[in-house]
């Protein structure tokens, strides 16, 4: 789907509730940069995901049917999205605003994992997003390995509580390798270069999230 174009999809058949079935993962990507939209779209397509790319948080909400426009949501099959990846810095509605709006929904939409992407490694920003319920915070430019890891996570479903994954910590380099098949590269050097920032030990996220990367 080209950037800027938003089509309400009337799906020919209902997608399964669980994305671990034979159906493709449907990712909604949100970014105001044309270049970044093209890159993320390609990253996702090459990872065998169905992709919808939009240029703003407003468009994203419209696509999901959350824009309060009652007449557009009646009579349509609900759009099934398995993951939302959104840029943080966008004019108007930021990625954080979009995240909050989605997490405020008292419906199935709240359960959709939301990943924030940003070119800026700002701790307070990262913490804020994670506390608001973001699944992950990726530093741009996003790599193929990030997308693959995300896809694996979504496909596998919930991760056992307490299971730590190797991740890049802005605050500390304390990193224990995960027993899962391929969380990320095992060496410390490459874990530092991984662009994902997670704080699974943050107290506010532990109790509110049942699944963590």
């Amino acid at each position: 789907m080209a950037g800027g174009e938003v089509l309400r999809q009337n799906l020919p058949e209902k997608l399964e509730e669980s994305p671990s079935g034979a159906n493709e993962l449907h990712v909604l990507a949100v970014d105001d940069s044309l270049v970044d939209r093209k890159v993320i779209e390609r990253l996702l397509k090459i990872s065998s995901c169905k992709v919808t790319v939009v240029e703003s948080g407003t468009r994203a909400l419209q696509y999901l049917g959350l824009d309060g426009d009652k007449k557009s949501s009646i009579g349509f099959d609900s759009v099934k999205v398995n993951l939302i990846m959104t840029d943080y810095s966008m004019p108007g509605m930021t990625g954080y605003d979009l995240l909050k709006k989605i997490k405020q929904e008292s419906s199935v939409f709240r359960e959709i994992p939301v990943v924030i992407m940003s070119s800026e490694n700002i701790l307070t920003r990262i913490d804020r997003c994670l506390e608001e319920g973001a699944e992950d915070f990726l530093l741009k430019p996003v790599k193929l390995s990030d997308v693959r890891r995300l896809k694996d996570f979504i496909m596998k479903g919930e991760v056992k509580e307490g299971e730590k994954r190797c991740c890049k910590r802005s605050r500390s380099e304390d990193c224990s390798p995960s027993p899962m098949t391929h969380p990320c590269d095992s060496s410390l050097l490459s874990s530092l270069s991984s662009s994902s920032v997670l704080s699974p030990l943050s107290p506010s996220t532990l109790s509110s999230k049942k699944s963590r990367l």
């Binding site: 940069s33 270049v35 970044d36 090459i46 810095s89 070119s119 741009k140 430019p141 193929l144």
Partner: protein, 151 residues
């Protein structure tokens, strides 16, 4: 020039661009995303980047020409440019953007103007180098050869 010579030239040119910092690993990452289903991916992204560059450089020029200068506005354009240059692996452009942002923050007009000039230079150099790269690729393909992958 035969295909082998052209391929060697291409490899050398790209290696030089990486060595001199015009491009970084992100460019190689983009090349990995190119395949038979999307054979012109890199060229398409780069073309978008060129369009973006020209638009943003114009915006910066206009913003710096205002009286008084709205440094937040200038910074907004630079931030965008930093983002898209990072996405295509345009390292030198990205680095100048970083310096530029600092000058915006301290509202240093002279520094900003200098950075804008540098950006225009770096963009111009990068564009020439990339266009040469793509021309080599075209010649190789026209001669029936394949584009060597860069490790």
């Amino acid at each position: 020039m035969d295909v082998l010579q052209l391929q060697r030239k291409l490899r050398e040119h790209q290696a030089a661009m990486l060595r001199e910092g015009f491009l970084d690993d992100q460019f190689s990452q983009l090349q990995k995303l190119q395949d038979e289903s999307s054979p012109d991916f890199v060229i398409e992204v780069v073309k978008m980047f060129f369009d973006d560059s020209e638009k943003l450089l114009n915006n910066m020029t206009r913003a710096l020409g205002q009286v008084p200068v709205d440094f937040k506005q200038v910074d907004a354009h630079v931030h965008q440019y930093k983002g898209s240059s990072a996405s295509v692996g345009a390292a030198r452009v990205k680095n100048v953007c970083a310096t530029f942002r600092n000058f915006c923050e301290t509202q240093n007009l002279e520094g900003c103007v200098r950075c804008l000039q540098q950006l225009q230079q770096e963009y111009s150099l990068l564009k020439n180098n990339l266009q040469y790269l793509f021309r080599l690729q075209e010649e190789i393909q026209a001669a029936g050869g394949s584009i060597p992958t860069i490790e």
